[in-house]
Symmetry: C2
Subunit: 352 residues, 2 copies
């Protein structure tokens, strides 16, 4: 039942129909009718009836303007979030973000309008629209330090997903240092001494953190020489060659995708995993594919990461529950999945 002329339904029109003032409609609508100014049942019911009949809903823009808070959380992703290449990374985060936002009654504003430069979106640009949201979540493997600083300086409420080096940046990240250290200790305990580490070619904090955990444990164990290599990401054969040359007993591979490729090359070369060569992976694909290898691996709690980031942002936004400096920098434990690709090394000189 809309107006015949398709006039927009407003509180004024509802008020007319109910024979009361517009303010009364607002009061009834907001429940405060009971407390502050007790509107008589009869009036109240009459208004509610009209509201029902007209299917009136308060204009959210007007509500917002009148100070009802907009409950919009921004989400900035450095790369488009949904295409397959990046979905593995973003989807589980978004799952957590969505779920927690739903609980908190917030809507999510994806800044898809941010212009792309050098294949990455820019936060700051001509018509930056960050201000549309109450605060913002930042997602991406790497983030621009200058942009983060500026955000901090501007006092714009935001939370980065993933640990960040930039001072003052609130974040919720995975504790890759401890997780990698734990897996490294497991490899040491199994008797490994010849390590090879194939990492992602990136200056991201997560990449550095994993290496830190790795190196710390090796150092404790007195192992000095370790071969490190940035995965080419396309010429896996070259990577594999480097590995065979180094002849390790255990391979630490940062990215699940790289691990799959290398595993396949190993198989083709007749190298059995883990009897000939152990493989430890420092991450996990978001969706286990049916034929996946059950790697010994680190499982970052990505969904939880997203959810906790929302919660932290919400706290930052709430005036009464402001988190302390240290509460604004949260690390969540990674789960270590024992898997089947870590075993004691063979007792020979040459392995591969």
């Amino acid at each position: 039942m809309t107006s015949p002329t398709h006039e927009k339904m407003t509180q004024r029109r509802v008020a007319e129909l109910a024979g009361v003032s517009q303010a009364t409609v607002s009061l009834v609508l907001n429940g405060k009718a009971d407390a502050a100014s007790r509107i008589p049942e009869e009036t109240r019911n009459r208004v509610l009836e009209i509201i029902e009949k007209t299917t009136y809903v308060a204009d959210p823009a007007a509500r917002r303007l009148a100070g009802m808070g907009n409950k919009i959380l921004g989400v900035f992703t450095y790369e488009p979030a949904f295409p397959n290449e990046t979905a593995d990374f973003y989807t589980p985060l978004l799952t957590g973000i969505e779920a927690r936002s739903e609980e908190l009654g917030c809507d999510l504003l994806l800044f898809t309008s941010a212009p792309v430069e050098n294949g990455r979106r820019q936060i700051f640009h001509g018509n930056n629209r960050l201000g549309l949201a109450d605060g913002c979540l930042l997602l991406g493997l790497e983030m621009d330090a200058a942009e983060l600083s500026r955000l901090v300086d501007n006092n714009f409420p935001f939370v980065a997903v993933g640990r960040r080096d930039v001072p003052g940046v609130p974040y919720v990240g995975a504790d890759y240092v401890s997780g990698t250290a734990e897996l490294t200790r497991a490899a040491l305990a199994a008797g490994h001494e010849r390590f090879f580490y194939l990492h992602v070619d990136s200056a991201a904090e997560s990449v550095a953190d994993r290496q830190l955990g790795f190196h710390t444990e090796l150092q404790k164990a007195g192992i000095e020489s370790v071969q490190l290599r940035a995965c080419t990401g396309d010429d896996y054969l070259a990577d594999w060659k480097a590995i065979t040359t180094a002849d390790p007993t255990v391979l630490f591979i940062e990215a699940p995708r790289h691990a799959l490729e290398i595993y396949e090359l190993a198989r083709q070369a007749g190298v059995r995993v883990p009897s000939d060569l152990s493989i430890v992976v420092l991450g996990e694909p978001s969706r286990p594919s049916a034929q996946a290898i059950d790697f010994t691996r680190l499982s970052p709690p990505r969904t939880e990461l997203g959810a906790e980031a929302v919660t932290l942002l919400r706290r930052i936004l709430s005036s009464d529950d402001a988190p302390s400096e240290s509460e604004s920098r949260i690390l969540l434990d990674c789960v270590v999945e024992s898997g089947t690709t870590l075993a004691p090394p063979r007792n020979e000189g040459k392995h591969l």
Copy 2:
């Protein structure tokens, strides 16, 4: 450069800083500065500079109230969009939506705050926030007809993804009728006469469309008796039993997931596909898993669907390029993937 007291940035404050009136800021901001009232370059630049420095953005709610668009497109999903169970359906749509929005310079507002009732989100509720966006995209397998009608009546600009029966609803959907008809003709041409159709247990238009295409072709071919069955979705053994009892030569299965389960049961029962039994699937998983069976199947252009829905919404929103009634109801062709699971039937009485 935010105010030390963290006061909200407004046009008034920008105006103060630039030493002009608030109205002037608005004029500069909306470009009309050139045409109507030519503001001197100098004033203009001064204002723009302050805007840049303060990273001021016009409050979207206020803009809306004042009757302007804000380049925010709403996205309403009837179920949470990211969890694994629904990701297959939503992700490719969102990929297209995101990409096209990026091109158009729009941001995406996900209505995660819509309260869930009976496991589905409700569009209309106490504090409905649809109006914050310029218009809205609706995603979901099934949509509530009453809600759609109300949206139409309210004259709210929106586009449904997927064909809808409700009059007046603009949509961009997949042409399942033609696609299914084509596959049905292929099965007929291969010599099949005993069909079994396992469909999704839903009243969705897409489900009806596929059956329409299927039945139309069978009728043309003079085939009368066809076994139809709503897939249980959990007790696949019961489904398989029903199939063996009917003893078809070709199986049409609507959902890819169901197809995988039935295929596996067939395999276990020693029924070879397609030599003993052909299987035709009327959909496609969003991500081909490595060990996937190359079903003869229908591939709906989901990414394109999302992108085109954005474009249609944009046209609806633009006053100068309003689409006609018929242009507001778009069907995109499905691709038929020949696959390997459709072959001529064996020339025997009993097959399974």
